[in-house]
Symmetry: C2
């Protein structure tokens, strides 16, 4: 069953969850140990983005007309019921998925790229800079930059540069500048290279380099792929559309599921349902055993980047110096989780499930072979949780409604091929690795303003 | 500018061009030299497909409800105006493209896969079989077969099996059976292997093997990716939607452009405009210099497959034994062109343009860098023609409206990467190769019924 939505039903506002949270969000914290002010972000981001990042009262933020017009290229996206998967599992549950696989890059990331690049261009930026690990964010951003006719520089984690070749081909074809990180272009990169010339890089270092690039070039703005509040804000188009579509299907989600690394797909799907929770839905965040920030991390201030160049965020974190195992889903390797998602988890509003990559790939193949779509590697983790919940419904004979968000972009298919040949290993983060990473956490004894 | 279309405006009928052609279509011809009857196709295709293939009177064929519902997963597709490309070229022309890149496989092929697999399932088939060269057709079909829960066997040209790896990964992940062709599974394959064990395969041989598989298994139906009338019929959803969208944009296409190998994207876009031609549009078919069937072929009966297993079609052909140069766009290497497109070309209703792969890739990169989307390798040929026509409008100061159809699936990105590194050569078919291939044509002196 497919529940489409017409272009007139494309939301014209994003949903800001903050006014509806029954808690005070801890502020971003500057390196000096004082709360970050909007002005501190000016060298990095467009003024409108900063305004959104600090917006605590307005529930609804209008989507600018040009962004909404660009959205119509792939939005509204369809809501589908995975009836074939349900039958294969023999579950009484109904499984719905919000299909984000038809955006320009096949990822939900395009939703925020469109907004961030638009605002940067409106405010006169001449270049966009970012960091990418799994390449999908970089590929999304490079395409959107071409659409808005603005230059783009992507700091790509060196190991991804060598391994995630299809994503790199996209970025190259789009004409964006790719810098393999760590690089000689920045002080952060030089420092890393001087310590270890063979370092395969990390998203943390790539972020430090991209921040430094933006700080040192007036015409350049940094764009975030996830974690930040404004990114999750932009992604709420997913959940807002899904709400309308679920109503049309006479369904209310009992269980909301999304893969979580930075947390933007999760927030995008779940937050609008959090607002209108006439019936309480379970919210399940699915993380990789290779970087289990929610289940094994600590809730405290930590840097978003390895170099500690930007600012600190209160979040569940495994420590900004974490180098997680080199699992195939590069997007699942971040050391922290969005402060908004972290706060909800802290308040026990969210459950977490943790899976290995073999569990995830196995589930994703079952999905492809029933529904005809190959999940992105990141979303394969969500699919595993969906199947487990559906099987629990079967055991308990409970006809629940499950809703999750699915990207599909065919970028990292080699992981599926290797899995089918038995060539993918599970690579969970060990307790020793977790303890070692947590030891690197910065001091967390700020006096917060009350 | 984006011109979306709502799901209620998704066509509910396909358009059959045959009643509107001012010519008699030459029949398909059985090997014995007599016109093929519908019964002759029964071992290969579903009864409803055969009916459509032979339908000469009805202009409109209803789209079955389950196919239309599946279409809503990616249709209606958006019509876009490539304003950034126009500006880059400085042309007064308006360039519109019908964007088929958000289907399950990113190709227009999914439109006919949905219909053919549906009819086969309805009529009790247990397995679908096909042949694929560029892998995109195979990938589209494998996904749709999962959707309808029917087994799928894909005979894949051996050289594609080795080279078009991403398409193969998709088909494997979907769980379809892949047979590298020529194979030991069929007499046609064995014969080819006995003649040359190192033969890299051809779409012609793969087709022979798939036909033989269907002929020898009662529960199995063959699906065509292009060439046949019913395939072009299914693809007319593209043009029917585009007509409505062009009207909304207050535009009438002066020039209609599509890449042509078998001809299904071309027919799908162009035929509905042929019907309602209040103003005469130029129709431009773009072929590869590696297999220039229209410009260098002969208009006569030839086999669709190399083994001559099935039947003959009256078409422009370079000879069914042609082995074209191994260009990157596997989908542009077929020896013939759809009889419908061939007949229109014969009647001088269609123009043809021929380009090399370097010309095509160069144009496609210009497109990606202005519009933010990477064309499929096949569609890159169309993009080259579009740019040339737009530049001609610039020289003549003519503000014409150009419309073309664009697939984008990120499957064969290595071609772009290699081109950017200067590692792609032009490989046009030489005059000697053309003459040699044409010598292999079968006798063409049937007495046709009048």
């Amino acid at each position: 069953m497919i529940i489409p939505l017409d272009s007139k039903d494309l939301p014209d506002k994003w949903y800001n969850i903050i006014p509806d949270l029954e808690l005070d969000m801890p502020p971003l914290m500057a390196n000096g140990g004082y709360p970050l002010s909007p002005r501190d972000l000016e060298p990095l981001a467009a003024a409108e983005i900063i305004k959104q990042e600090f917006e605590e009262r307005k529930r609804e933020i209008p989507i600018p007309h040009p962004v909404r017009e660009l959205y119509t290229r792939w939005r509204p996206t369809p809501l589908l019921r995975a009836e074939r998967l349900e039958r294969r599992l023999g579950t009484p549950a109904r499984i719905f998925y919000k299909y984000e696989g038809r955006s320009l890059s096949g990822n939900h990331e395009t939703n925020t790229a469109a907004a961030q690049v638009y605002y940067a261009c409106e405010e006169g930026a001449k270049r966009i800079v970012t960091a990418t690990g799994n390449t999908q964010w970089g590929a999304s951003l490079a395409g959107i930059c071409n659409y808005f006719n603005i230059k783009c520089t992507v700091y790509m984690v060196h190991s991804s540069f060598e391994e995630k070749v299809y994503g790199r081909y996209i970025i190259e074809t789009m004409g964006a500048e790719i810098v393999s990180s760590p690089s000689e272009r920045t002080r952060a990169g030089k420092k890393s290279l001087s310590q270890d010339p063979q370092f395969p890089g990390s998203l943390g270092i790539a972020l430090s380099e991209a921040f430094e690039d933006a700080y040192t070039h007036k015409d350049t703005k940094f764009c975030w792929g996830t974690v930040m509040k404004h990114v999750l804000l932009h992604q709420t188009v997913i959940g807002l559309e899904a709400q309308r579509q679920m109503r049309r299907a006479n369904a209310l989600p009992d269980i909301l599921i999304a893969a979580v690394s930075g947390g933007s797909a999760f927030g995008g799907l779940v937050f609008p349902f959090y607002r209108n929770r006439s019936r309480k839905s379970r919210m399940v965040a699915v993380e990789a055993a290779a970087a289990p920030s929610l289940s094994k991390g600590q809730y405290r201030y930590d840097y978003g980047d390895a170099g500690g160049l930007s600012f600190m965020l209160k979040m569940y974190t495994l420590g900004h110096n974490l180098i997680p195992p080199d699992i195939r889903a590069g997007g699942m390797r971040y050391h922290g989780v969005s402060p908004l998602v972290s706060a909800l988890y802290r308040e026990k509003q969210i459950e977490v499930k943790t899976y290995t990559q073999r569990q995830a790939l196995q589930a994703a193949i079952a999905f492809a072979r029933t529904e005809g779509v190959i999940p992105s590697l990141e979303c394969s983790y969500a699919v595993k949780a969906v199947i487990d919940e559906a099987l629990a419904c079967k055991r308990k004979k409970e006809p629940k409604d499950i809703l999750f968000v699915l990207d599909a972009n065919n970028i990292e298919l080699a992981a599926y091929k290797d899995f089918l040949r038995g060539e993918v290993e599970d690579q969970p983060l060990s307790e020793e690795q977790i303890q070692a990473a947590l030891e690197d956490l910065p001091p967390d004894d700020f006096e917060l303003p009350t």
